[in-house]
């Protein structure tokens, strides 16, 4: 968002408390949502649970087109609509809820650096594997993405999205990478995270921050999603402290609903092919 828009949103947001009926919108859980979208959505849900803010999750087939920026997830709070984790963090901060207030400036800069690493490396790797690897794209991504639409619209939309993502990959210079190189990048990213985490409970002190929410969202989704090969989840599994970290956050913040999750009444469930 531009600076002026951010200032405007903060002004409006600060005046009202967080309502009970705040809703998060994401694509359909069972058949449509993709790995990258599920990771982003889970990160936002984890963050809001860590802030102890009530949230409902609503699945819509056109969530991506409803979003003001074109990316999922987005939240509808009062009469405001905010999409993506960064702006949502700003929005909750304007309402007086924040997880990173206890950090000093050095730590905050470090946290921002790691979040940038996640977005530039891990998220881009997920998009690459989904859309640029032809086997995954043909068997999983395109059928899932186009499942709510009738023929022939489904093929048009799936190929249109694929073309758009591939163009973005060329723009960031990932088009020439091979799949092995991408897996290597993922491994390096996980190594950096593992080293930073060490034996701590959370990345900074004993309190979770937005970095914890983002890491949880991506790693949990990678671990629980079936792709054409297990290589991606294997890269994460080599670091046991990341596994315990993911498990701990799941236990602490999502435990109460996991029982109900099997019947589909829970707000989230890992996507399966």
């Amino acid at each position: 968002m531009s600076l002026a828009a951010e200032a405007f949103v903060s002004q409006i947001a600060a005046s009202e408390p967080w309502p009970e009926n705040a809703t998060l919108y994401q694509p359909l859980r069972d058949n449509q949502i993709l790995l990258s979208d599920c990771a982003s959505s889970l990160a936002v849900q984890a963050y809001l649970r860590m802030c102890d803010l009530p949230l409902r999750v609503c699945c819509r087939a056109n969530a991506e087109h409803m979003s003001p920026s074109g990316k999922v997830p987005f939240i509808h709070v009062g009469n405001q609509v905010v999409s993506e984790l960064g702006p949502i963090i700003q929005f909750t901060k304007a309402k007086g809820h924040s997880l990173s207030d206890v950090l000093d400036d050095v730590q905050r800069a470090e946290m921002k650096a790691y979040m940038e690493l996640m977005n530039n490396m891990l998220l881009t790797a997920e998009l690459y594997i989904q859309w640029c690897d032809e086997t995954t794209a043909a068997e999983i991504t395109r059928p899932r993405y186009s499942s709510p639409y009738p023929w022939p619209l489904k093929h048009i939309l799936a190929y249109q999205k694929q073309w758009e993502v591939r163009r973005k990959m060329s723009a960031v210079g990932w088009a020439e990478k091979t799949l092995e190189q991408v897996y290597e990048d993922v491994a390096q990213c996980c190594q950096a995270l593992s080293q930073r985490l060490g034996t701590q409970m959370y990345f900074f002190n004993r309190q979770p921050t937005e970095l914890d929410a983002l890491v949880f969202g991506h790693l949990f989704t990678i671990l629980t999603t079936q792709l054409t090969s297990n290589e991606l989840s294997d890269k994460v599994k080599t670091y046991s402290n990341l596994l315990t970290f993911v498990h701990r956050i799941e236990q602490t913040y999502f435990e109460g609903l996991n029982q109900a999750g099997q019947s589909g009444a829970g707000p989230w469930a890992p996507p399966e092919v």
Partner: protein
């Protein structure tokens, strides 16, 4: 006719210079008797041959039907009338630039004494005509390229292509038209198009990419159209401040529908008719030939015109429609009806009547609207016989109502909903007729029966369009 010699009325002068002319030498002027004129009006003639000269790519079998009538003429006046009718029919096909008729007596061995040859000298239109314009609209400019290929396969088929490239949006349309030889009113056309529209009253942007096939045919006095249409619709919000109800409608959908329309039009003009009636009934069924939108839509339009004393015309019209969703998905905002504005219930802002959410109008699934007008010439008739005839003054009374069909209580409650809280307005204004295509109005309106949520435009309202209530 006989020859006429010049002659002088004055006797030759007796005095004066000797001109060497003597009275006895002057010729005696003799007027020959009038030659008898052949009176052909009532004489029987036989049309022996009809030629068409100047055909290039047009196939001859196409024209046989248009000129067949000329052979049945019995006398000269009849021949001239039927040739004129044939000429009109040939021009109506839209493949000739000029058609001239030459009627001559027959020549040749088998020529009858009362035989005639009729020749149509035609000039075909060029194979390709193009046009190029630039347009400037609301904060955008665009260039429009049009191409027309008349008569491409020789039987009056027409291919038109229009492409508009603008700073904001691009749109195009390709259309192929083929009439049935001999029956121009029975025709088929196939269209391919992409259009974009912006609807500020709903904060909605719509992009339609579609293909449609349509058959037109007359039955007795009515004109019928059967059409199949497949459209890929993309809806989006026009501004960040769009209401959430409109935001929920964003996305892609595919509509595949069959529709039928019947039109009876006995008016003398479509724009400011002086007499005649119009009846239009349209139904559309979507969802049974594919797509993910399923509904049954009916709408009708009735207009009656009658001439009164002193060149004034009384006109009454009634519109109505209903949209029934089939299945459990709710209707889409792009399919619903809208009401209000200078072309519909005057006195209200454009399409600003009925259900709305945060200032965005969502349209309704059932509506009716009616209008009564008295058109009179301008007072004191300025510019009579020329420019002043394009203007008319009118006094009007409009009423209408619009509602959703989801009150869950059955048809009786919907009828009740449509009958209560009627919006209506009255007023007067000036109407300008633009050729036979469009009409401009400047009215002073007083809206009444305004419900909360409607946006009104009381006072002076300007409207331009083709179809008015």
């Amino acid at each position: 006719m006989g020859t006429v010699h010049a002659r002088s009325l004055d006797p030759l002068p007796m005095q004066g210079p000797d001109l060497g002319v003597h009275a006895d030498d002057v010729e005696v002027i003799d007027v020959e008797p009038e030659t008898k004129q052949e009176v052909l009006e009532n004489k029987d003639v036989v049309v022996q041959r009809v030629h068409i000269d100047g055909l290039g790519r047009t196939k001859e079998d196409l024209l046989g039907y248009e000129i067949a009538d000329v052979f049945t003429a019995k006398n000269l006046i009849d021949v001239m009338k039927k040739s004129h009718d044939a000429r009109e029919k040939l021009l109506h096909l839209g493949i000739f630039r000029k058609v001239e008729v030459v009627i001559d007596t027959s020549e040749g061995e088998d020529a009858l004494p009362n035989g005639l040859d009729v020749t149509f000298e035609v000039t075909e239109l060029r194979r390709l005509t193009g046009s190029y314009n630039t347009m400037v609209g609301n904060n955008e400019g665009s260039m429009v390229l049009g191409l027309k290929l008349p008569n491409i396969l020789g039987r009056a088929e027409k291919l038109t292509f229009q492409f508009s490239y603008g700073t904001k949006e691009t749109s195009y349309g390709l259309s192929f038209f083929k009439p049935k030889p001999g029956h121009f009113d029975r025709n088929v056309s196939v269209n391919l198009y992409k259009v974009t529209g912006q609807f500020p009253w709903s904060s909605l942007r719509e992009t339609d990419r579609g293909i449609s096939t349509e058959f037109n045919f007359p039955i007795w006095k009515t004109n019928h159209t059967l059409k199949w249409e497949g459209v890929w619709r993309e809806l989006g919000c026009l501004a960040r401040t769009a209401s959430f109800a409109v935001r929920e409608e964003s996305g892609h959908s595919l509509k595949s529908s069959l529709s039928h329309a019947m039109v009876i039009d006995t008016r003398n003009s479509a724009i400011l008719p002086k007499k005649g009636i119009l009846l239009k009934i349209n139904q559309e069924l979507a969802g049974y030939t594919g797509g993910d939108v399923s509904f049954l839509k009916e709408d009708f339009e009735i207009q009656l015109n009658r001439r009164l004393f002193w060149d004034s015309v009384l006109s009454a019209s009634l519109w109505g429609g209903m949209l029934l969703p089939i299945g459990d998905k709710p209707t889409c905002i792009a399919d619903r009806f809208y009401l209000g504005g200078p072309t519909s219930v005057r006195g209200f802002s454009m399409y600003s009547i009925g259900p709305q959410s945060e200032g965005d109008y969502l349209g309704g699934e059932a509506f009716w609207a009616s209008g009564a007008h008295l058109y009179t010439p301008l007072p004191f008739r300025p510019g009579r016989g020329g420019f002043g005839d394009l203007f008319r003054m009118h006094f009007f009374l409009n009423a209408g109502n619009l509602c959703r069909l989801d009150y869950g209580e059955g048809p009786r409650s919907h009828l009740q909903k449509l009958a209560e809280c009627i919006r209506w307005s009255y007023g007067a204004g000036i109407v300008l007729r633009l050729g036979n295509i469009a009409r401009l109005e400047l009215n002073y309106c007083v809206p009444m029966g305004v419900q909360s949520g409607d946006r009104i435009c009381d006072g002076v309202q300007f409207g331009a369009g083709i179809r008015f209530l």
